[in-house]
Homo-oligomer: 366 residues x 2
Amino acid sequence: MQDIILAHNEAKGENFLKRIIGKKPLFACTLGTTETAKISGISAAGANPEITDFTPPADIELLLLGKCKCIKGVPVTPDGIPTPALITMSALKLASIPALPVNAGLRILPHVPYLELGGKPGRDIRTGKAVQNVLEVLQRAKLAGQILSQTVDYLVIGESIPGGTTTALGVLLAMGVNAGGKVSSSMPGNPHTLKMRTVEEGLKKLRIKPGELKEKPLDAVSCVGDPMMPAFAGLVLGAAERIPVLMAGGTQMSAVLAVVSAVNRAVLGNVAIGTTRWIISDKTSDLRGIVSQIADVPILAANLNFSASQYAGLQAYEAGVVKEGVGVGGSTIAAIAKTKGKITAEVMLKEVEANYMQLVSTKPSQ
Amino acid sequence: MQDIILAHNEAKGENFLKRIIGKKPLFACTLGTTETAKISGISAAGANPEITDFTPPADIELLLLGKCKCIKGVPVTPDGIPTPALITMSALKLASIPALPVNAGLRILPHVPYLELGGKPGRDIRTGKAVQNVLEVLQRAKLAGQILSQTVDYLVIGESIPGGTTTALGVLLAMGVNAGGKVSSSMPGNPHTLKMRTVEEGLKKLRIKPGELKEKPLDAVSCVGDPMMPAFAGLVLGAAERIPVLMAGGTQMSAVLAVVSAVNRAVLGNVAIGTTRWIISDKTSDLRGIVSQIADVPILAANLNFSASQYAGLQAYEAGVVKEGVGVGGSTIAAIAKTKGKITAEVMLKEVEANYMQLVSTKPSQ
């Protein structure tokens, strides 16, 4: 498994990996939106802030149908860099891993079947009332996790929610985790100050001091989180009672981990975070530094490397654009593990380039 | 497998059974409503016609939570006989079989996670415009069937839709299957004349002659079917490409089979119907007689027998009340097959009585 990096808590990571090699996974993708993404400068998960509502449904259509239906083309950043769903799609396709969409609170619904949990789109966290019916969604998601845990060997759970690192910062701070300046960004220039100001405004609105909701994870999500969180955390809580769960994402996973850990630490033995090399080598964020404050779960990272790509839109990933999302790292790890290493980072790049050529552009860079 | 009856196409049935013994199933339950159920005298799937909207969501809550949330108690017939979901619940519990709710077109949504396919509640078939967006739901369901087929060894698909035998008659007649006087009923006195009159009114509204839609299954469903059908047929079409599918139900299954068969006969080698002894020994209906006109798929029947029950509400099943629904027969067959015969009809009755005592009544009959 040369292309899976043991990035944190190595021994536990190796043990987790042993449990999933050659086994049958399901990739569940939690999808939601938050008005927080529409604050200027917060998110690059869409060509402009208003269009971020379409990014999650378009991402999941890409995974299931091989093309988007709710938008033309594929989601891109303001600079035209394509969605990480393109990479996830490649991993799932290469390793024949099924994907299940999970509606955690979408404004625009995808043209594919999805698991419904009763969640609503998230509000701007500056209101201090970011997410509705957190407990109800968490409970339904837990039940869904229990059901899914009886069908496959392990679960990989990803997310697509623009603005998600800002809401992650919100929940982490509300729960007393020192995450200031540590969450990642889909932009190379990480707007830490803007994120912090946004979170502080939400907390102040409810007169909540950082750390005050340490034992109240659902309140933290209600106040300054996003709808992806209760859905994702519930799936982990339900599935990890029985099977391994790979939480696929970047620093957003630490916020979900904080919720899971505060609700039921007993499941953490079945939990690992799966991310990308782009996240663990990112100098503007610190996933390990956040996770180590919460629980000693391992972090695995897919050793994806696009520096040899003939396409500028993929090379951009090496410059720190996008980095993670739609479970890129976790789905790649699952593809490598399922095929016992037959799929490598090199095989992945070839497949990603083929899909890029078909869906984005046929023009190689200079 | 003494308690699984090979009821039709015995050799194929035995072969199907061999393929599922000891294997891991998922029970998917398609849920919908149709205004057709509110025609007086059509359905006994609820204490009165108006309450039939609550029966499917209450049924699935019972399966997943062990109790209903959207109604008090459990669904009953006008005579107080409890829903067949009580039996399905017992089978799934005994054999640890997971259940996945599928919203095929509900008016009242259950308080559990469910798979959403974009279906709408069905209209009264006398309008001749019974079901909306049939193609879209069928396509989404097919994709869902393909996804699920990559998670488990085989699929058991059931239904809960009051009024479903009348809509089944509608689709069968529209497609040229001689089903008059052959569909079953949840009532001991099967109202064949009323059902036929209802169907004829719907067909006449669109000036469609019986048999005219033989090659147009989706039009038949749109005109005089119900929303369960495209969801159920799509799941079969997607899953049976790869794994065995047990269609769990009574004569409604023949209408779904007619749709599946007209869309893609190639999948039928992976298909069997799973029902109850109450259906195959019913003198007011003829499942074999309908199915043999459509395709040579096998019929298996769970040899459930409640004549020795101490509860009048369960003995009533022997008098021809309810007979099938919520996948009673198929889920029981799956429970027997999964445990390689450790679960018998006798074990089932004990478990059903225990659940009956807890959920319906503690009072044995005289």
